[in-house]
């Protein structure tokens, strides 16, 4: 049984009033613990594909199954909860909430789940130490450097130990050295926690270093 299956998914977006079919009858299985890279030209729909995987966007047709359960058949609250528990996102930009400290940002998914605060903060602190930011817990995002903020974002994605980590060009805005640090973290996380990770990237070297490689072109996903 695949962890996440995509069946016959169609998705289009609209540019200047024209429909662009970025996903055409895409079907794919992701197994538990896989580390997958996804490459493709700009505008090929990599982000859209990732959003559909992460239920942030609904497909026009087709279904997404998580452990054989149809994700888009659930109601809004269930989908939100699914996103909260099962999926961790890392974006190209860190997207931390500016009003909250690094610690609060990391603990946010746990707080959304209405976990008890002290416990959430304790685990968040541990995670921040793990990504090397033990000294920066009480800083707001505005006071962090790009690499630090991205590490906070990664810690936030992992705080609830999700089954799937979706990373959308997580190092796109970083210099190669800092980026390599993030990549290393991603690999460690995948290995240590057994989290299935899908990493969208333009970095061919990085893509080649992943055990499974996907390419999105012409609305089709192919193994590369």
């Amino acid at each position: 049984m695949a962890l996440l299956s995509i069946r016959n998914v169609f998705k289009s977006y609209f540019l200047h009033g024209k429909r662009i079919d970025v996903l055409r009858a895409v079907s794919l299985d992701l197994e538990k613990g896989e580390l997958v890279s996804l490459v493709g030209a700009s505008g090929a729909g990599k982000s859209t594909f990732l959003h559909v995987l992460g239920t942030l966007d609904a497909p026009a047709a087709g279904e997404v199954f998580f452990e054989d359960r149809s994700v888009f058949s659930m109601n809004d609250a269930e989908i939100a909860e699914f996103r909260n528990r099962t999926i961790g996102f890392v974006f190209q930009s860190h997207y931390l909430l500016p009003e909250f400290t690094a610690l609060e940002n990391v603990a946010m998914p746990a707080l959304i789940q209405r976990r008890e605060r002290a416990g959430a903060y304790a685990y968040a602190r541990e995670l921040l130490e793990r990504v090397g930011l033990g000294q920066r817990v009480d800083h707001r995002p505005g006071e962090l450097s790009g690499g630090e903020a991205q590490r906070v974002a990664l810690a936030r994605a992992l705080v609830l130990k999700p089954a799937i980590l979706l990373a959308d060009e997580p190092t796109g805005n970083l210099d190669p050295a800092t980026g390599e640090g993030i990549h290393q973290l991603l690999r460690d996380v995948n290995r240590e926690l057994g989290i299935t990770a899908v990493v969208v990237t333009h970095n061919e070297t990085l893509a080649r270093s992943m055990p499974r490689r996907l390419r999105l072109a012409g609305g089709q996903v192919t193994e590369a």
Binding site: N8, F10, R19, D21, R24, A25, S47, T48, H51, G54, L56, D57, A58, P59, A60, A61, G62, E63, S70, F72, S73, M74, N75, D76, A77, E78, I79, A80, E81, F82, R83, N84, R85, F89, F91, Q92, S93, Y95, L96, L97, P98, E99, F100, M108, P109, L111, I112, Q113, R114, R156
Partner: protein, 775 residues
């Protein structure tokens, strides 16, 4: 598209509703809903038709038919107006035939059960209101013809109390049905709500309004609904009361719908707020001491003085800071640039400014509402005190004729619980003449022994006089005749402190005349003082002369002067002994009995109890509210209208809140998307932004409450002088009524809640993908 169509439909239905009302006015009544109802089940509606029987055009076949046609035509117009998605001109897409994404596939626009919940809810709420009120206050015999009804145990609450309880119960019913309907449908379901309110909610208030106009309807229903109409009549304009109440119930329904949608819209009932408040508090930091104190200062002292103080403080602060940074920079330029950077960080965002403005706006509204209503209550209380000081709380009399057996009646009344005192009286209208002037007055025969139990007359006598002097007219010191005025002034010179109550020095006047007590203003206009002689002339003489009845005249001596504080009373009332009045007007016994009750708000019920104890007809009792109905209903109406007008300030402030929260939503689009990606449901987002609006409302409401009360206390303690010539009252009266004050704050919070709904829904509809794309 379907949803859009139905929203359009909902909007257009209001058009149809307007049609219905216009047609009602045109005599084609019941076109909107009645036409359909009558066609579908005219048979079951026979009672209503019978009730409306006096309005034949309604039942006329032609009118009925044209009504139905107009009704159908209206709907056809609406159906025609619905915009449809254009047909696709391109061929089938590659996805043709694939399974539609399941949530869209299951989509439904219209739920009959929700329509039932909304429409049934509003109708049920109206019925609960009417029935509960009747049940709660039944046992209060009103004054209509017919014997007193059996109280039969039952709850007998004062009418206003019963109304308040029933209103709360009805509002709860409306709220709960809205909640259930919306949480079942998991959406706002505006079309269902509109149809429900129009077709099921409107008939009752329309019926009640028509009842005032159509006599036959009144004959049919008036008796059963008398408790409802009584309370509505307290306002003077019953229709206004009906429609206000109806609006209130609809508001409760709307609140219920929104709350239900927010709590359960995303699939399950979730009333927890901890996380949402946590986020909302960071977004709008309303409860910061500087913001609260600043707004409070503006509310208390106006805009200019606090602003001046603020600028002075800021200027001083900036000067000190800049000097510090400069000296820092002289030794280490980098340190100074860092300090400058920090200074910049402290600057406030425009949203903060908007927030402060909104808080201030709500605060001003609540403050104005509290102050104005408290002053109006002060006037009302003052008036009530003066009226009740001079008049009784209730008067028992016969429907016709006098009350010869008043002693026996008083014996019976004494046993009724809640009666604080009673006194017999005779009332009549006469002319009063002094040497200087003539005036028409109301003369009252009183029993000095008991009158003090009921009115404040004994306390109102000026110069420490007593009513007992009426019993001993020979002791009334008569004033010397004007021509003798110069000589004997020595006797009265010592204690002639008061012009009016001067004790004349010459007790030589032989004629002993019965005493009369007159008001201060009357004494001034008649130019008489204590001891002067006045003539009372009754036009209704018993003797017949050649030209008809001869007016009867009798001389009295002014025994005392009273001051009630009410110009009308001080210039129009005179009092004599009951016995003198009996002789003068040739009345057996008394005109009636004045009662004082312990709880004036309960006067109506106790009056009813008294009539019951007396065995009903021919006795009747009228309470003070009924006797002064026009005055008090005018006051209440004035207060209500004032309240509505001042609430407009709050509505304007609510507009500010809408703008503020929309700005917040626009500012936080990215954050909303991130929160959604992290697993906050749509309902959670709505809650966050509602909480933000509500924070502003609560802060503004509390500030307004605080400053309003402070102003009231200031007015009460320090006082604002009034010209007594105009107002007959020395200073602006204030009475803080807790219920009314709390209501002002509650209204403000409710209005801000309603105002935040739209931006909050906007916030929840931000697509996560959109916000994350916008870099």
């Amino acid at each position: 598209m379907g949803l859009l169509g139905f929203i359009l439909l909902g909007v257009a239905i209001s058009g149809a509703g307007a049609w219905a009302e216009v047609s009602t006015a045109l005599g084609l009544s019941l076109v909107g809903w009645g036409g359909l109802l009558q066609v579908i089940d005219g048979a079951t509606l026979l009672p209503v038709q019978a009730a409306a029987g006096e309005a034949p055009p309604v039942l006329h076949l032609g009118f009925l038919l044209s009504g139905v046609l107009v009704w159908l035509g209206g709907w056809a117009l609406i159906a025609h107006g619905i915009r449809r998605a254009p047909e696709s001109t391109v061929g089938a897409s590659p996805a043709a035939g694939a399974t539609l994404y399941p949530r869209l596939a299951r989509y439904r626009d219209f739920y009959w059960s929700t329509l039932g919940a909304y429409g049934g809810g509003i109708l049920l709420a109206e019925l609960v209101l009417v029935l509960l009120q009747t049940v709660l206050s039944s046992g209060v015999p009103s004054t209509e013809l017919g014997a007193a009804r059996d109280a039969g145990g039952g709850l007998t609450l004062p009418p206003t109390g019963a109304f308040a309880i029933s209103l709360v119960a009805a509002a709860m019913v409306a709220f709960v049905s809205g909640f259930i309907g919306a949480s079942r449908a998991q959406r706002l379901a505006l079309p269902e709500a509109t149809i429900g309110v129009f077709y099921l909610g409107l008939p009752v208030p329309i019926l009640l309004t028509l009842m005032e106009r159509i006599p036959s309807l009144q004959l049919q229903l008036g008796y059963r609904l008398r408790e409802v109409t009584y309370v509505a009549g307290l306002l003077g304009r019953p229709e206004l009361a009906y429609w206000l109440t109806f609006t209130g119930l609809v508001l409760a329904l709307v609140l219920g719908i929104n709350t239900g949608f927010i709590a359960a819209g995303s699939g399950r009932v979730d009333l927890k707020l901890g996380f949402e408040l946590f986020v909302a508090r960071r977004h709008v930091a309303v409860f910061r001491p500087s913001l609260l104190l600043g707004t409070l200062a503006v509310l208390m002292f106006g805009i200019i003085p606090p602003l001046l103080v603020y600028f002075i403080i800021r200027a001083a602060e900036a000067a000190v800071e800049r000097t510090r940074i400069r000296s820092l920079g002289l030794s280490d330029p980098l340190a100074s640039s860092e300090a400058l950077h920090r200074l910049k960080l402290r600057e406030q965002s425009p949203t903060m400014m908007m927030t402060a403005l909104s808080v201030g706006g709500v605060g001003v509204g609540v403050m104005a509402l509290i102050i104005v209503l408290s002053v109006m209550s002060g006037f009302e209380a003052d008036l009530q005190k003066k009226i009740l000081g001079t008049n009784a709380h209730a008067v028992v009399s016969r429907y016709a004729g006098d009350l010869p057996e008043y002693a026996k009646v008083m014996e019976t009344i004494r046993k009724v619980p809640g009666i604080a005192g009673q006194t017999p009286f005779i009332i009549n209208q006469v002319m009063i003449a002094s040497e200087g002037n003539v005036d028409g007055v109301i003369i009252k025969g009183i029993d000095p022994a008991t009158v003090g139990e009921v009115t404040d007359l004994p306390q109102n006598i000026l110069g420490g006089g007593s009513l007992d002097i009426l019993y001993t007219p020979e002791k009334i010191l008569s004033r010397a005749m004007p021509e003798e005025d110069d000589a004997p002034a020595k006797g009265g010179a010592e204690d002639s402190g008061d012009d009016i109550i001067r004790r004349a020095g010459k007790p030589t006047k032989p004629a002993v005349l019965p005493g009369i007590v007159i008001g201060r203003e009357l004494a001034a206009s008649l130019r008489v003082v204590v001891g002067d002689r006045v003539n009372v002339v009754s036009p209704l003489g018993t003797e017949l002369g050649p030209t008809g009845p001869i007016p009867k005249s009798r001389a009295f001596r002014v025994a005392a002067v009273f001051y009630s504080g009410m110009y009308e009373y001080d210039s129009k009332f005179v009092y004599i002994l009951l016995k003198e009045a009996q002789d003068f007007f040739n009345i057996q016994g008394a005109t009636g009995i004045e009662l004082k009750v312990f709880d004036i708000d309960d006067a109506r019920r106790i009056a009813g109890q008294v009539v019951k104890a007396l065995g009903g007809y021919p006795y009747r009792a009228r309470d003070w509210g009924e006797m002064n109905k026009n005055l008090f209903s005018a006051l209440r109406l004035e207060k209500l209208v004032m309240g509505i007008i001042l609430s407009i300030i709050i509505v304007v402030a609510a507009g500010l809140i809408v703008a503020t929260v929309i700005m917040l939503v626009l500012e936080k689009r990215k954050e909303i998307s991130v929160l959604k990606a992290l697993g906050v449901s749509d309902g959670g987002i709505v809650k966050i932004f509602l909480a933000e609006g509500l924070q502003i409302g609560v802060a503004g409401g509390l500030l307004g409450l605080f400053s309003g009360l402070a102003w009231c206390v200031f007015i009460e303690k320090v006082g604002i002088k009034l010209d007594p010539e105009v107002y007959y009252i020395p200073a602006l009266p204030v009475r803080i009524e807790p219920l009314q004050t709390v209501l002002a704050v509650v209204i403000a919070v409710l209005v801000t809640y309603l105002a935040s709904i739209y931006p909050a829904l906007k916030a929840s509809s931000v697509e996560p993908v959109e916000g994350l794309k916008a870099e």
